[in-house]
């Protein structure tokens, strides 16, 4: 943790330096020697931020490439994306791409100041974590079918991390797929929602599954389903929606992207370096702890993955009623 904080300390200075320095001349396909800035769409502390810091740390320790994390939260990730799209495409400014600015915002907002696909070079996929449905143990529900039966009898309340968050979109998708209606209670982030769940005022909540493994162990909550395609190795006892006969897959993915117009050799260098970082067993262990399942993907595949994700999420966002 010490190293991370110190890296952070550099952020401000490094970003100043980057503003001041003209785009440094460098060989094509290699970093110029300047520190790389990884822009994160969220404030420090979240999963995205931790992944970015993990990457930054190992870019330095494994490849000698200095990297700093630059948190630019705001407006559901669009502030950061807009900012990165306007930076020099020299490989020194990258963004930890995720659902918020790239798959949710394009459908949710009337207009966004950037092109989610053409405005960026989507370089490398990192991995994804999946949310799950948690219910009060006192309700005696353990499967999705029991949940449906109960929800049809009495309207249940569910807490989410906020309007337009992945947990909200999943909640609405579950309602629509299962043909039930429940009351959405939005919070600012998952921890106040969990606090109210613990106080007994919420019947259920949706949140990233692995992060709440303690609650499952302590029997404070029952995780009846996870929205990943397969079970998560960290939670072998939590079944997926799919295996219970309901095709609901919603994942919170992260990857690395840069501004459009990057040199193809530079893209290859970054892609290969990032993949090498995430092949490191130490890094993989950390990712697993964060609940993220890593998968290697080529640059082309990642670009089409992002485009597909926009299409997959669009109907969910529209049916959740959060599109402007």
């Amino acid at each position: 943790m010490k190293l991370d904080r110190r890296t952070l300390l550099g952020t401000g200075l490094a970003s100043l330096a980057l503003f001041a320095a003209p785009a440094a001349m460098a060989e094509p396909g290699a970093w110029s020697g300047e520190p790389v800035r990884i822009v994160v769409t969220f404030p420090p502390g979240g999963t995205s931020d931790l992944v970015a810091r993990l990457l930054a740390k190992h870019l330095d320790s494994d490849f000698g490439q200095k990297a700093v994390v630059d948190n630019r939260p705001g407006a559901a990730g669009t502030v950061a994306a807009d900012y990165v799209a306007q930076q020099a495409a020299d490989g020194t400014t990258l963004i930890l791409s995720n659902n918020a600015p790239f798959t949710i915002a394009p459908t949710r907002f009337k207009s966004i100041p950037y092109e989610p696909i053409d405005g960026f070079a989507h370089i490398a996929y990192i991995g994804a974590s999946a949310p799950g449905l948690f219910v009060q143990p006192s309700l005696g529900i353990t499967t999705v079918d029991e949940y449906v039966a109960h929800a049809k009898e009495t309207e249940l309340t569910y807490g989410s991390s906020g309007v337009g968050s992945i947990s909200h979109i999943l909640g609405e998708a579950v309602d629509a797929t299962l043909g039930v209606e429940s009351i959405h209670v939005p919070y600012q982030g998952s921890s106040p929602a969990i606090q109210d769940f613990r106080a007994g005022v919420l019947d259920t909540f949706y949140d990233m599954a692995v992060q709440n493994s303690d609650m499952i162990e302590d029997k404070e909550a029952v995780a009846i389903a996870i929205a990943s395609p397969e079970r998560n190795p960290e939670l072998p006892d939590v079944p997926t929606f799919r295996e219970q006969g309901h095709d609901i897959v919603i994942e919170n993915w992260v990857g690395l992207s840069g501004p459009a117009g990057m040199d193809p050799d530079m893209v290859t260098t970054i892609h290969d370096t990032v993949l090498a970082v995430f092949a490191n067993p130490e890094v993989q262990t950390r990712l697993t702890e964060l609940g993220i399942t890593h998968r290697a993907m080529s640059t082309e595949d990642y670009t089409s993955f992002v485009a597909e994700q926009i299409d997959i999420w669009a109907p969910l966002i529209i049916s959740a009623g959060i599109a402007e």
């Binding site: 807009d82 921890s191 606090q195």
Partner: protein
């Protein structure tokens, strides 16, 4: 015994060199900013906030807290020597303090305030250590309705006890509430009052509003009011220690001030200023020296200082155990903790015991540091008042801008701060107080969020507020306060009318 053991554990945490160092930086910076007229703890906290992003949560929290209470110590120095309160709460101290200074007893006044501040802070610390665990236990079962009732109680209590200019006060609270609605509506996701500006989607940051109102506008006002280096009072070190009788007369006020301060500090909405004002008003009635109040008496400087320092400590009770900021600086504390992924609330004590008890123990350590900084080293602070403002103020403006920029790495926030500062200065000219605005801004959105959440959960049935025992009790207390406040306002008005009819009676009233 449990509390003592936990406190001991906290003491070990705070005695780690790193935490000790940040505690010292905090109290030093706090005193520094507090001594400067016009700029209070809000400005100090906003300035060091960027620094805390690079620390671990415990030293960060310890440092922010230290700045906060350090500023209250420093605030009294300028108010005694120059009759210019360094912080709003110190304006009460100025009443007696400046009189004492005029009598050539500035040293005694400064010594008494430092002692009283320490005494008050210790009372506050004991209250926090004793009350927090049980309050947190109780709060584990708090639902949105209960949170709403707590905030309502705080806001009503704050407006009931703040005197004078009620209409302007309410106008400012409402302005604050309105500013707080800017951004994404948390319940529906709709944008409110963003006027197409993407930077406003997430609302206006508390630091931006606070720095505009309390940093920039205060600076503009100070530039007009002071030309600098006016600390004409010199301290006679032979006259530094209070006489034996004065020593004895300190204890009562410290005890009373500390108790009153603890109560109003812990109540969300009322803060140090209200605590100091009420403690002074009470002391004026019960003190053995009550007849001499207004002419410069030691209990008169001790009581507000004890009150505002104990309130400063107990403001952490609702902040950390409920996640409800007791005062605007506490909203920054919550924001700072959120950066580390720590959500203040009933589980904080269980999940972060080292941090919580480290903080409580740091109150003891920090206040001892402050005692050293403010008694033997008082001369240094007095000299600080002689630094020309033309050097001091531009430096502070730069620091404020840096602090604001670092929030989101966004220049928009800097401009917004300057605009709010300019507007704030104009409001000040027309005697609109910025404090109620900030209070509305901080508590309004929280209250709205909890209200709407309650309504969602109860399926639209407002009776839920009376069905839950905690919220029902709190609402009953709120109604009680409201009735008493309205009754006494009506009485005052009747009395004022009577006085207006018979002006010769005025003398006996005062």
């Amino acid at each position: 015994m449990d509390i003592l053991a936990s406190f001991g554990q906290g003491l070990l945490v705070v005695l780690e060199p790193q935490n000790l160092m940040y505690c010292f930086i905090g109290v030093f910076l706090g005193t520094f900013i507090g001594v400067l007229p016009g700029i209070g703890s809000m400005a100090a906290i906003a300035m060091i906030l960027p620094l805390t992003f690079y620390l671990d949560p415990t030293p960060a929290l310890v440092m922010i807290a230290a700045v906060f209470y350090g500023a209250e110590y420093g605030g009294s120095t300028a108010s005694i020597l120059m009759n210019v309160p360094g912080t709003p709460a110190a304006s009460i101290t100025a009443i007696e303090g400046y009189q004492l200074a005029k009598k050539g007893r500035a040293g005694v006044a400064l010594f008494s305030t430092a002692t009283a501040s320490f005494g008050g802070a210790m009372i506050g610390m004991v209250v926090i250590a004793v009350l927090s665990p049980s309050l947190a236990q109780l709060a584990l079962s708090f639902g949105p309705a209960d949170y709403f009732a707590v905030i309502l109680l705080g806001l009503i209590a704050a407006s009931a006890v703040s005197n004078g200019g009620a209409l302007k006060g309410i106008a400012m609270v409402v302005t604050g509430l309105m500013l707080g609605t800017i951004g994404i509506d948390l319940t529906t996701g709709d944008l409110r009052f963003t006027m197409g500006i993407p930077e406003l989607r997430d609302g206006v940051h508390i630091v931006v509003v606070a720095m505009g109102l309390f940093g920039v506008s205060e600076l503009i006002a100070s530039i007009r009011a002071n030309t600098g280096g006016k600390a004409t009072q010199t301290i006679d070190y032979n006259e530094f220690y209070p006489s034996k009788e004065e020593w004895k007369s300190l204890f009562g006020p410290i005890l009373r001030g500390g108790t009153i301060g603890s109560f109003f500090g812990a109540l969300p909405g009322t803060g140090q200023t209200i605590a100091a004002a009420i403690a002074y008003a009470v002391e004026k009635r019960v003190s053995p020296q009550r007849k001499k109040f207004g002419t410069g008496v030691v209990p008169g400087v001790a009581v507000p200082e004890a009150a505002n320092n104990s309130a400063t400590q107990t403001a952490f009770i609702p902040t950390l155990t409920l996640g409800v900021p007791g005062s605007p600086p506490m909203a920054i504390v919550i924001g700072a903790l959120m950066i580390y992924g720590i959500t203040p609330g009933p589980r904080l004590l269980v999940e972060e015991p080292d941090m919580f008890w480290g903080l409580v123990a740091s109150f003891l350590v920090g206040n001892i540091m402050l005692l050293i900084l403010n008694v033997p080293l008082i001369g240094m602070w007095v000299r600080l008042l002689k630094i020309p403002y033309k050097i001091m103020y531009p430096t502070i403006i730069v620091l404020i801008c840096m602090g604001v920029y670092s929030l989101n790495n966004n220049v928009f926030d800097v401009w917004l701060t300057l605009v709010i500062g300019a507007v704030g200065y104009v409001m000040r000219l027309f005697r609109f107080e910025p404090a109620p605005l900030l209070l509305g801004f901080v508590l309004g959105p929280l209250m709205e969020e909890q209200l709407r959440r309650t309504m969602l959960l109860s399926r639209g049935d407002p009776m839920v507020f009376l069905e839950r025992p905690i919220s029902a009790t709190l609402i009953a207390i709120t109604v009680g306060i409201l009735v008493v406040a309205l009754y006494s306002t009506a009485q005052n008005r009747r009395r004022a009318r009577a006085t207006a009819k018979n002006p010769q009676q005025e003398g006996t009233q005062a």
